[in-house]
């Protein structure tokens, strides 16, 4: 599924999780062990996510495609009578199934390491010092990450909403086109009033798929601009969006700036 670059808005996710992350997420979700057989079982699910990312025109790394190819290879191998072929085993890339599993296990180990770091009593979050201001943090302009769950959890929620939305209702109405900036402004206003909203609430009454896509992109972009925080109190529970702008003016300027820039550059053109 390709979108004309001129007619699209590319949401850049700077700290994006990789293909190994997606695989581990699917393995966990399906309660599988990491081994060749179970990987082939989630191959279709993996491709579904990659398709969703393409639909959203997210910047996906080439590695995602490479892993997709490897999964397909593994799947086809599982279907065909095995013929000993050691050719692929030597490649030190994600292209060989054996290497993919090895890398997955290695990655899992450090992912667990990251979890251990997260659980520590971190400074200025769990423990504090006299004075309690981190000079390094104070000097940084960059805000704390506002996406507090895996992008794949969010994509899954998006897939569910997309499934509920009819593929195409008669003809796409021209007047319904709305730019990303305009949608951001709507969500911003909605969130200003409510402060905290469940993810699904923003899709209530949304009937066209293009509007679902624009809404989702708007949420991602707002997270990047630190206009909202995306969080989940517990895994597999409701995803929440919380307004991060206390005063009316602060965030409004950012939204207006976005709209002005958008007018100069691009419009989001309807269905993909």
């Amino acid at each position: 599924m390709f979108v004309e670059p001129s007619a699209s808005y590319r949401v850049k996710l700077e700290h994006f999780e990789g293909p190994l992350d997606l695989l581990l997420y699917l393995i966990k979700k399906n309660e599988l062990d990491i081994c060749e057989v179970s990987l082939t079982r989630i191959a279709d699910q993996y491709l579904h996510y990659v398709n969703t990312m393409e639909l959203l025109n997210l910047e996906i790394a080439g590695e995602f495609i490479l892993v997709a190819a490897t999964l397909m290879l593994m799947k086809s191998r599982a279907l065909l009578p095995s013929e000993a072929s050691d050719l692929t085993e030597e490649e030190d890339d994600l292209e060989s199934p054996a290497e993919l599993i090895r890398r997955l296990l290695l990655y899992k180990k450090y992912k667990d390491g990251a979890l251990q770091l997260r659980e520590r009593n971190t400074l200025f979050d769990k423990v504090f010092l006299r004075g309690s201001e981190d000079p390094i943090l104070a000097s940084l302009k960059e805000a704390a990450p506002t996406l507090e769950l895996s992008i794949f959890v969010l994509l899954e929620a998006f897939q569910k909403i997309l499934q509920k939305t009819p593929l195409s209702t008669v003809h796409e109405i021209q007047g319904e086109n709305i730019t990303l900036g305009q949608r951001i402004k709507q969500i911003y206003t909605q969130l200003q009033a409510a402060k905290d909203l469940p993810f699904e609430a923003l899709f209530a009454g949304v009937k066209s798929r293009s509007l679902v896509v624009v809404t989702f992109l708007a949420i991602l972009e707002m997270s990047r601009l630190a206009l909202l925080r995306i969080y989940q109190n517990e895994s597999f529970k409701t995803i929440h969006l919380e307004s991060l702008t206390q005063t009316q003016g602060e965030g409004y300027d950012r939204v207006q700036g976005l709209l002005a820039e958008e007018e100069k550059n691009f419009t989001y053109g309807g269905d993909t």
Partner: protein, 217 residues
Amino acid sequence: MEAEKLEETVPQLSGDEIKAVVESLLFVSDKPLPLSAITDVLAEVGKETVKEALAKLKEDYAFRRGVMLEEIAGGYQLRTHPAHAPWIKRLVKVRPVRLSQAALEVLAIVAYRQPITRAGIEHIRGVDCGGTLRGLLERQLVRIIGKVEEPGRPILYGTSKHFLEAFGLKELADLPTLKEFQELTPEESAQLQIIRPLSDEEMADHPVEGDFMGEGE
């Protein structure tokens, strides 16, 4: 003991007084205070006495107190009790230091595998880490510790002293050991590089202090 010899020439400090002086020194420092800094100040008493005082102080703080005495980044520091975080956050408006999942993963890889190049990190994560790594450098959790003597001279990254402070670690060897996988056959696990805490010698090779470019070894 050596301490007793010294005590003849300086005003006498009782054990409780030494403990109190150590406490006041810890109170005024905004960085973890190394043992050597305390013994320098308390030159009149011996190292062992200071250590004893620190141990007693730690005990005093261990029960039903708002602050704790902790060993951080090769020094001693008074820190608030983790259980009190909710109230502290009501009082002081600090920006949360939460790192994104990606940032934590890169940090974990750097912490356990240092010195490591960007390519080395990306090999493990299977995805570009440039932006994430830059963020960690800005936050001074990761620092450049040298360059590989090979074509392109890739930069080697390691964790900083600030990393130890941020995560409440005494030293790198204090990092929890990572579990290996049960499902692996011995053959397979032999293939994987096993993670272990760095030995003292390796620690000496890659000191966590200093600012930049630990070049020329």
